[in-house]
């Protein structure tokens, strides 16, 4: 009897459609893009797909100063926005958790920024931070806090701040929602026990609420560290990585190399190098998540 007709084959046969779909939508694109990273593939020259160049793309990336600057800036961007989003999200979740009336409405309102397309968010903040006609400079001048036109999208630090601000505005609610879910799931007993033992509000938060929330925070951070590449649209619209590469992140650089310059082989090599970043962030947050859960389980 052939294997596929045996009873023991049934689980494999049942899994087969799922595996086939996974192979088609995940494995094939991954293998294809990995292959192209070893070629001189140019979008406008389909026949260049077979132009094998070995490790030349990777060797160019290793020597490309601009790439590594963008790599470092992306690490900084991720670190800053994830931490700020966590702190603000935690604050919002704690505040909403205390509300007894209108909480559902507030939860819905809180999710509004997530509903905007990142391109629209980019245009919104590009206008707000415009040095000449932007509302931010206008407000600062009207309030007497500034007498000049602050070049928000030109100055290196301010431009970084501006794109980070837009990203934080759009995505803080992801943290807030996940942390709020954590607060809802939190058992009341430890809090009441702490009260009986004479803990003050800070001690209760620091030693009970926060450790309980940390697994949720790390899940949110792991998701957001992968999802934050959505900021590509925001950065493209606001500064397109400029001026002078001051806001260049890996995503804007890779898109320019792949689409504007048509060098998809090189762009895919850059993308594979940049996945190191995603793997490192995910690995780090996963370890912290496991540690936080072990702590909550009383192992430490």
């Amino acid at each position: 009897m052939p294997f596929w007709r045996r009873e023991s084959a049934i689980p494999y046969l049942l899994l087969l459609p799922a595996l086939a779909i996974m192979a088609l939508v995940v494995a094939f694109p991954l293998i294809f893009s990995l292959y192209t990273s070893f070629t001189g593939y140019r979008l406008v020259r389909p026949d260049s797909l077979y132009d094998w160049v070995g490790l030349r793309n990777y060797s160019r990336i290793l020597q490309d100063y601009d790439f590594w600057v963008a790599f470092g800036r992306t690490v900084l961007f991720l670190t800053v926005v994830l931490n700020v989003e966590f702190l603000l999200g935690l604050g919002i979740a704690l505040l909403i958790n205390r509300i007894t009336w209108g909480q559902r409405t507030l939860r819905t309102i809180m999710m509004f920024p997530m509903m905007f397309s990142p391109i629209l968010v980019g245009f919104q903040f590009k206008f707000m931070f415009n040095d000449n006609i932007g509302i931010v400079n206008n407000a600062l001048q009207s309030l007497g806090l500034s007498d000049g036109a602050i070049a928000w999208l030109v100055d290196g630090k301010l431009a970084f701040f501006s794109i980070a601000f837009a990203e934080v505005w759009m995505s803080t609610s992801v943290f807030a929602i996940l942390l709020l879910a954590g607060l809802f799931a939190m058992p009341r007993d430890p809090l009441e026990a702490a009260k009986v033992d004479g803990c003050n509000a800070w001690q209760t938060f620091r030693h009970i609420t926060l450790p309980f929330l940390m697994p949720f925070a790390y899940i949110a951070m792991a998701i957001r560290s992968l999802d934050v590449a959505r900021a590509y649209d925001i950065v493209t619209v606001m500064t397109d990585g400029g001026p002078a590469g001051r806001t260049e992140l890996l995503w804007t650089l890779i898109a320019r190399v792949g689409y504007d310059n048509s060098r998809m082989g090189l762009a895919n090599a850059m993308a594979y190098v940049s996945t190191i970043l995603s793997i490192l962030f995910t690995w780090y947050f996963y370890r912290k998540l496991v540690a936080a859960r072990r702590y909550m389980g009383g192992a430490q």
């Binding site: 001189g40 979008l43 406008v44 020259r45 389909p46 415009n130 040095d131 000449n132 006609i133 000049g148 036109a149 602050i150 070049a151 928000w152 999208l153 030109v154 500064t239 397109d240 400029g242 001026p243 002078a244 590469g245 001051r246 320019r256 689409y259 504007d260 310059n261 048509s262 060098r263 998809m264």
Partner: protein, 440 residues
């Protein structure tokens, strides 16, 4: 009732006569749907409102499958090439972008009537030719000249102060050095600026390139080695840097593109604006512009080489080699670029590519008592005839541009010494030219 019937009958007869006439011109493609990808944006849309007339005349339908700004359209077409999904007949194109696309567009020389092509400006057709193939039909051209606020030059106090400071009379600038002096003189940041420039993407590369040529330099030598890091290149970059450092331009200029500069001049907060003619009617329209009635125009300034800047190109239409109805596609792009439709675009200030439209639009503006628009077509006509030149029509142009403009920004902002910024860009451009096979 009889009157209504008569009217209806008369209208139907006129419509049928009109259609019969149009049929002879545009062909009969009843039941066919022509798929097209067109450039979008306020100044391009007026033409598309005429498409129903072609549909009525031919019986065909036009399906606009994509309508985006040219940079987005460029990315989309590149993806179509990669995916092998060029399932449309007509696409908007541009003389600067066309050399990238290989052989996806047909040579119009073989399919368009020679007498129709003869009505187009010969230089526009030459610039639309890639590897001896006319891969695109010019729709309208662009080249930049200098708009200025007239009142600033008529003010006696300005004249006296300028003469005292710079030692020569205040008049609309004829050289880039005078342009810089005057921009710095007029600027009172952050409320008023001497000028502004497009600060990123191919836009600033193009501005740098035309100034480089005006100063007597060149992007490449005869063997395609980059030469823009020459003294002429440095002088061109320093023009931008000095204006930026002296706050004669808005601090955000390095993020500006065409809309920002046009809207800036129309807002009345900028003295001089080197820009394309497409803004002319807008600038002089009181409903849109605070400088309406106060707009002067002079030809683009000269550089040290005695040549005026004249970076030019044309927006065009191309027909794909995969098109399943070339006759309909030819009819469609001929319709969009015919005399009447070019007149519609020319009324906005867009520069026609048919020679007769130049004469007719000027006559129309003269008859309408609009001397400003007559002057616009005089100045831009002269500029197209004497000053216009395209960037190198080579496949890697956009890629070369993408290594030049970030370094121009670094030079302007002081992140790199200007000469070092140009040297670095030239070294990167050389690698691109080597990869593309231009340098052996």
């Amino acid at each position: 009732m009889r009157t209504i019937t008569t009217l209806a009958l008369g209208t139907a007869l006129v419509a049928v006569a009109g259609l019969a006439n149009a049929d002879e011109t545009w062909g009969d493609f009843g039941g066919y749907t022509l798929r097209v990808k067109l450039i979008g944006g306020a100044q391009y849309e007026k033409l598309y409102a005429e498409i129903p007339k072609w549909e009525a005349a031919t019986g065909a339908k036009v399906d606009i499958v994509s309508r985006k700004n040219h940079f987005e359209l460029d990315k989309e077409i590149k993806q179509d090439i990669a995916a092998g999904t060029i399932d449309y007949c007509v696409a908007s194109n541009h003389t600067s972008f066309a050399p990238q696309y290989g052989d996806i567009y047909i040579d119009l020389n073989g399919v368009m009537k020679p007498e129709v092509l003869a009505e187009f400006d010969a230089l526009s057709l030459k610039n639309a030719t890639v590897n001896d193939a006319l891969v695109q039909l010019p729709r309208h051209s662009d080249v930049s000249n200098l708009f200025y606020q007239k009142s600033l030059y008529e003010d006696q106090a300005n004249k006296d102060a300028f003469k005292a400071k710079f030692g020569y009379d205040l008049a609309p600038p004829d050289t880039f050095d005078q342009f810089k002096d005057q921009a710095i003189f007029f600027a009172k940041a952050p409320d008023f600026f001497g000028t502004q420039f497009v600060g990123k993407d191919e836009a600033i590369t193009g501005r740098f390139y035309e100034m480089l040529v005006a100063n007597g330099g060149a992007l490449f030598d005869e063997n395609w080695n980059p030469t823009f890091n020459s003294p002429e290149g440095l002088k061109s970059l320093m023009w931008f840097k000095e204006l930026y450092d002296s706050k004669a331009v808005p601090a955000g200029s390095l993020n500006y593109l065409w809309d920002d500069t046009g809207m800036g001049f129309a807002s009345g907060t900028v003295a001089l604006d080197l820009d394309w003619a497409g803004w002319a009617a807008f600038f002089n329209d009181p409903a849109n512009s605070k400088v309406a009635g106060n707009v002067g125009l002079t030809r683009a300034p000269k550089g040290d080489g005695g040549k005026r800047s004249g970076w030019a190109g044309s927006h065009t239409f191309s027909i794909t080699t995969t098109c399943d109805n070339q006759a309909a596609a030819v009819s469609f792009i001929t319709f969009l670029t015919d005399h009447d439709n070019q007149m519609i675009e020319a009324r906005q200030g867009l520069l026609p590519t048919r020679t007769k439209v130049w004469t007719d639009i000027k006559a129309e503006f003269e008859a309408a008592g609009n001397p400003f628009m007559v002057e616009v077509f005089d100045v831009y006509g002269q500029s197209m005839a004497e000053d216009a030149f395209t960037p190198p029509l080579i496949e890697p142009w956009i890629e070369v541009s993408n290594v030049i403009w970030p370094n121009l920004q670094k030079g302007i902002l002081g992140e790199m010494e200007p000469q070092a910024a140009l040297d670095d860009a030239a070294a990167k451009a050389k690698v691109i030219m080597e990869d593309a096979g231009y340098i052996q």
